[in-house]
């Protein structure tokens, strides 16, 4: 199964956005998770938090309107929506650690069948270690959603029995959206809730590193 098969990144982000209830305060990780903001269903209001100190993150500014003092956690220019608030770092992480942010969406290198997450270090000895806010987010936010490709470019599973890379958190992930499937982490293990169009369960199982229970709830529109 090639990495291109199944859903596009935008489609994965749209699926995740559909699962976030109206009125939720949401933190989006750097990279693919940022796409979620483009796919909020009509009629739903989400408030986006960025851990460097802003609630009410708006879309990127038009070119030429960037403000170097107004950036997100990925250090990209953003805008602040009406009703936004700025705050310092300890308050920002009190929002995270204190359980005030309802959902975060993160990328991952590996997720285990028990919801362990590895997303901060490749474990290579020569790499410069850097962690940022990932450990705080997974420890404090109630529902941790992961957006990632189902397998690495070399075809190795990213959903695994046990993470081999350094952990970000233990038993923290709720649901994973890959290009092939939507998978829940449950006390019974990994449960496939939905498969990308034209993707067979056996093909998904073949590139999943842990048993995958068929938990599809029938065809959805």
């Amino acid at each position: 199964m090639s990495a291109q098969a199944g859903w596009s990144r935008d489609e994965m982000a749209a699926l995740a956005a559909l699962d976030i209830p109206d009125g939720t305060y949401v933190n989006l990780g750097i990279g693919i998770p940022e796409l979620v903001a483009r796919h909020v269903p009509a009629g739903r209001e989400l408030v986006f938090h960025t851990e460097n100190g802003l609630l009410g993150v708006g879309p990127p500014p038009t070119p030429g309107d960037e403000d170097p003092d107004l950036i997100n956690a990925g250090k990209s220019p953003v805008t602040a929506l009406p009703g936004a608030a700025y705050f310092h770092h300890a308050d920002s992480f009190a929002m995270i650690r204190g359980g005030h942010i309802g959902v975060c969406v993160l990328g991952a290198m590996q997720v285990s069948a028990t919801g362990d997450l590895a997303n901060w270090s490749t474990g290579e000895p020569d790499a410069i270690p850097a962690v940022g806010g990932a450990m705080d987010l997974v420890a404090g936010v109630g529902r941790v959603l992961v957006l990632m490709e189902h397998a690495t470019r070399r075809g190795e599973p990213k959903l695994v029995e046990r993470c081999t890379l350094p952990l970000t958190g233990v038993g923290v992930v709720s649901r994973v959206y890959t290009n092939l499937a939507v998978v829940d982490i449950t006390p019974g293990g990994l449960v496939a809730r939905r498969l990308a169009p034209g993707v067979a369960l056996d093909a998904v199982r073949a590139c999943t590193g842990a048993p995958l229970i068929d938990g599809r709830e029938g065809e959805r529109p």
Binding site: P68, D69, H89, A90, S92, F93, G132, A139
Partner: protein, 236 residues
């Protein structure tokens, strides 16, 4: 009379001594007190421990301080970026030690330091490599690690407006670590785009009350670190 104003960035950073622990505000370039850091490079103290979220970009600001060989240890959460070659090479050559701290734990350790709380338990990092070797205790069935407060001899912070009492207002997401670093340092040194008369900052809008600030200096047109990096500038 209380007057915390200094006439120049060089005068403002003059008390920073060899071996000092210095907190440096900023998240990436937003809030990076470039003029104070450059004045510190000119003044020449060595053997510094720097507490900051990142470890500098390009060859200006904190990266230039590291390149000048003044920094012995960096305590930070994210020293890696596309333009962070100065730190990377100093770290790989063993010239700079690194204490890696989760970002929120870094902020809370600084806040605790400023609030007189010597240590606290947090679930962040438990069961991960960054929790190894720390005192552990379970609360409500949840494993936590003990984290110690961080304090510093000095803080270098960028603000938008200040008055002679040291009351501060910041600008947008450049606020980031400024308020807590002022709290946690013995001498908080602040560069502000404008120093205004007492009363001009609405007391309801003061973000950092002056009690947390010891020295302020006006820097009217502060450089933006990301501009300097983009232009390939280096300091000195």
């Amino acid at each position: 009379m209380i007057d915390k104003r200094c006439s120049s960035p060089h005068e403002a950073v003059a008390p920073v001594h060899d071996g000092a622990t210095v907190m440096i505000g900023g998240f990436g370039s937003a809030g990076s007190p470039v003029e104070l850091i450059h004045a510190l490079i000119d003044r020449g103290p060595r053997g510094l421990t720097v507490i900051s979220n990142n470890a500098g970009c390009g060859r200006v600001g904190l990266a230039a301080l590291i390149e000048a060989g003044r920094v012995e240890r960096v305590v930070c959460s994210f020293p890696r970026s596309a333009d962070a070659e100065v730190f990377a090479s100093a770290y790989r050559a063993g010239r700079v030690a690194l204490d890696l701290v989760p970002q929120g734990t870094l902020a809370e350790r600084i806040r605790a330091g400023g609030a007189g709380v010597p240590a606290f338990y947090t679930p962040v990092g438990a069961g991960t490599p960054l929790g190894h070797g720390k005192e552990r205790r379970s609360f409500g069935g949840r494993e936590c690690v003990l984290e110690h407060a961080l304090t510093a001899d000095f803080a270098l912070v960028k603000a938008e407006r200040a008055d002679r009492y040291g009351n501060l207002v910041y600008r947008k997401t450049a606020r980031n670590f400024g308020p807590i670093m002022c709290m946690a340092s013995r001498v908080a040194i602040v560069q502000a785009r404008r120093i205004v008369e007492p009363g001009e900052i609405d007391p309801e809008a003061v973000v950092t009350p002056g009690v947390f600030v010891q020295r302020v200096v006006e820097v009217r047109g502060p450089a933006d670190e990301s501009d300097l990096v983009r232009e390939g500038r280096r300091y000195p």
